[in-house]
C-alpha cells in the first residue's frame, strides 16, 4: 500500500477506534519506512518503489511468534493447558520485540546506519500487539472477563500490577505512533515516547516476578536493556558518535546519511 494512502486513511479515521489505528499504523508503517528508505536511496521514488526492500523482513520477525503458535495449534502441541501456554508465549514475544525496538537507536549510533531507525516503530507496535494479546488472553480466556476475580488478581499480585502498568504505558505510544500524531504532538511526541524506557523495564520486572525461582533469563534481558538505555544517555551517545567519526569510514555501510550528533531521538 503506498504511503500516502495510509497517511490519508489515518488522518481521516483519527477519531476511529483504537484497534483500527493500531492495525493501520502497523501496515502504514512499513510503507512509510519503505518510502523513507526509497527517498534516501534515490530521488525518483517511483523507480525505487519497485525494488524489494529488506525492511519488509521485519514483518517476518513480528509475525513469527503468531506463526509458531499457529503451528503449535495445528500440531496439537499447545500442551494440555493451552491457555497458560498461550499467555506465556505471547508475553515472551512482546518482551523480545520491545527489546528489539530498543536496539535500533544504539545500533544506528554505533554503526551510523540510519535506516535501522525505521524499524523502531514496527518492532514497538508488534511488541505492543503481543502485549495486548497477552492481556486479552489473561482477562478473556483465563478469567472469562470475571471482573471481580480479575480485580482481585491484579490487586493481590504485584507482578500483575506491574505488567498492567507497563501495558498502560505502552497503549498511548501505540495510539500516537502514526505520522499524523507525530506531527500534531511536535516536540512532546518525543517526550511522550520516552515512556517506553519505563515500560520495558517494568515488563521485565513483571517477567522476573512471574518466575517460580529461576530468574536468570529476565536478569540477562534486564542487563541488555540496561546497556541499551545507557547508550542513549546524551554524553555517552556523543562520545560514541565522536569515536565513530574519528575511526569509522567516510560514509555509512549503506551509503545513507549519518545520524547527526544531537540528543536522543524518541525510541
Amino acid at each position: 500500500m503506498p504511503g500516502w494512502i495510509c497517511e490519508r486513511t489515518i488522518e481521516g479515521g483519527e477519531r476511529g477506534a483504537f484497534v483500527y489505528s493500531l492495525f493501520y499504523s502497523l501496515t502504514a508503517d512499513w510503507s512509510e519506512a519503505y518510502m523513507a528508505v526509497s527517498d534516501m536511496r534515490s530521488n525518483s521514488p517511483g523507480e525505487a518503489r519497485t525494488r524489494p526492500n529488506w525492511i519488509h523482513l521485519i514483518h517476518l520477525a513480528g509475525l513469527a511468534p503468531l506463526a509458531l503458535l499457529a503451528w503449535d495449534a495445528f500440531a496439537g502441541s499447545l500442551t494440555v493447558n493451552p491457555i497458560q501456554y498461550l499467555t506465556q508465549r505471547t508475553g515472551y514475544a512482546a518482551i523480545l520485540l520491545l527489546i528489539a525496538s530498543l536496539v535500533c537507536t544504539p545500533l544506528s549510533v554505533v554503526s551510523g546506519w540510519k535506516r535501522i531507525l525505521a524499524l523502531r516503530r514496527p518492532l514497538g507496535l508488534y511488541g505492543f500487539l503481543y502485549a495486548a494479546l497477552h492481556m486479552l488472553i489473561f482477562t478473556a480466556l483465563d478469567f472469562g472477563l470475571n471482573i471481580s476475580l480479575i480485580v482481585q488478581e491484579v490487586a493481590e499480585k504485584r507482578y500483575i500490577l506491574v505488567g498492567t502498568t507497563a501495558l498502560l504505558l505502552l497503549a498511548p505510544l501505540a495510539l500516537t505512533s502514526t505520522k499524523g500524531w507525530q506531527r500534531r504532538l511536535g516536540r512532546s511526541w518525543k517526550r511522550l515516547h520516552r515512556l517506553v524506557y519505563l515500560a520495558v523495564p517494568l515488563a521485565l520486572v513483571h517477567y522476573a516476578w512471574a518466575q517460580k525461582s529461576d530468574i536468570r533469563q529476565p536478569l540477562i534481558l534486564g542487563a541488555l536493556v540496561a546497556v541499551l538505555l545507557m547508550l542513549r544517555v546524551p554524553a555517552v551517545r556523543r562520545r560514541i558518535e565522536a569515536w565513530r567519526r574519528a575511526f569509522g569510514g567516510v560514509s555509512a555501510a549503506d551509503g545513507s546519511e549519518r545520524t547527526p550528533a544531537r540528543g536522543a531521538r524518541g525510541r
Binding site: A75, V80, N81, Y85, D142, L149, E156, K157, S213
Partner: protein
C-alpha cells in the same frame, strides 16, 4: 462466559480422530516437502495404553483426566522445567534396580527393593484430585498403598515427629539436576500425623499401569489435600526425624512456599490464583476447595493452627 451444553461438546473419540487426521495430513505434507525431520509429530514414542479403572469420576462426580493428559504435562524439574517435555526427556529413566532406604528415628531401619515393596504392599486404587500450586488441577486414578502401613513396619521411635523424603540424585539420568541454580536433591516432609493419615499414600502406578518416569516412577508420595509439589517423586530415602525438614521449595523461595502447603483458597500466593483453578481439559476456572475438597477428613489435623502463618 456461556456454559457450553454437554450436547455440544465433541466426544473425545471424534475430536481425537479429527486431530489424528490433521496430524497425519500434516505429516504427509511435511514428508512431501522432504523436511520430515521438522515434524515433531512424526517421531513421538507410543504412549502406553491406560489399563482399567474402577470408576470414571472422583467422589464429587468430576471425570478422571485422561491418561494422555496425566502423562504429558508434568512438573519434574529433575528432567526439565518444561512440563510438556518431561515425558520425552525421562523416557529412558531406569527404575530397576531401585531400592528405598527407610531409617532415621526408627527401631527397624530397612532397605527394600522396589519389587519387594510391590509384593509386600498390594496396591489399591485411589482416585484423588491433584491441585498444582500453579493453578491447574487433574483427577487421577492412582494405585498405591497407605504410607502408614510402611511406617508401622519400621516402628518409629517416640522421638520421631516428622517424615523426610528424598528423590534420587543422579545427574547422569536427570539432566535438570546438572543445573546448580537449585539445591538438589529434592526433599519434602510431612508431620508424622499427616504421614500417618489414611489419605496419604505411596503410589506405584496410575490408570492400572505401573508409574511412568514422568509421574515419579517407581515410587512417589501422594498427599491429595496439599499442593502437588508436596507429593515428591522417585523416592529413594525416607527418614523419620525430630526436626521439621526444610523442603526443596522452602529453600528455593521461603516467602512463597511453606512447610504445610495445604490447598487453601483463602491464602493467596504471590503468583497464582489460589481462589480458583483450571481443571485440565476444562475451559472455565472453578473455585478451589478448602483442603482440595478433603476438609472433612483432614481439617482436624490443623485445629487451632493459623493457616495463614503456617502456609
Amino acid at each position: 462466559m456461556h456454559k457450553i451444553p454437554s450436547s455440544e461438546i465433541t466426544p473425545e473419540h471424534i475430536y481425537r480422530s479429527r486431530r489424528r487426521f490433521l496430524r497425519e495430513v500434516g505429516a504427509l505434507a511435511i514428508a512431501g516437502l522432504g523436511i520430515a525431520a521438522c515434524g515433531n509429530t512424526a517421531n513421538t514414542s507410543p504412549v502406553p495404553t491406560p489399563g482399567p479403572v474402577s470408576r470414571k469420576t472422583d467422589e464429587l462426580g468430576d471425570p478422571l483426566n485422561t491418561y494422555q493428559q496425566i502423562t504429558t504435562y508434568n512438573n519434574f524439574y529433575e528432567f526439565t522445567t518444561h512440563k510438556e517435555y518431561v515425558a520425552q526427556v525421562a523416557r529412558n529413566f531406569r527404575t530397576s534396580p531401585w531400592t528405598v532406604s527407610i531409617g532415621g528415628l526408627v527401631h527397624k531401619p530397612q532397605t527394600i527393593a522396589i519389587e519387594d515393596i510391590l509384593k509386600r504392599y498390594p496396591s489399591e486404587e485411589r482416585i484423588y484430585r491433584l491441585r498444582c500450586v500453579e493453578g491447574w488441577s487433574m483427577v487421577i486414578p492412582w494405585l498405591g498403598f497407605p504410607l502408614h502401613r510402611l511406617l508401622a513396619d519400621v516402628e518409629p521411635m517416640a522421638s520421631a515427629r516428622y517424615v523426610r523424603f528424598e528423590t534420587l540424585y543422579d545427574p547422569e539420568q536427570m539432566p535438570g539436576q546438572r543445573d546448580r541454580w537449585y539445591n538438589w536433591p529434592y526433599v519434602e516432609g510431612l508431620r508424622l500425623d499427616e504421614a500417618m493419615h489414611d489419605l496419604t499414600i505411596l503410589s506405584t502406578g496410575l490408570y492400572g499401569n505401573l508409574l511412568l518416569p514422568q509421574n515419579g516412577a517407581p515410587l512417589r508420595l501422594v498427599v491429595p489435600w496439599k499442593y502437588g509439589f508436596k507429593s515428591i517423586k522417585s523416592i529413594v530415602k525416607i527418614d523419620l526425624v525430630a526436626e521439621q525438614p526444610t523442603s526443596f521449595w522452602m529453600a528455593a523461595a521461603p516467602h512463597e512456599y511453606g512447610f504445610y502447603a495445604n490447598v487453601n483458597p483463602d491464602v493467596p500466593h504471590p503468583r497464582w490464583s489460589q481462589a480458583t483453578e483450571r481443571r485440565i481439559g476444562e475451559f472455565e476456572r472453578r473455585p478451589t476447595l478448602m483442603f482440595n475438597g478433603y476438609a472433612d477428613q483432614v481439617a482436624r489435623l490443623y485445629a487451632g493452627m493459623d493457616l495463614r502463618a503456617n502456609y
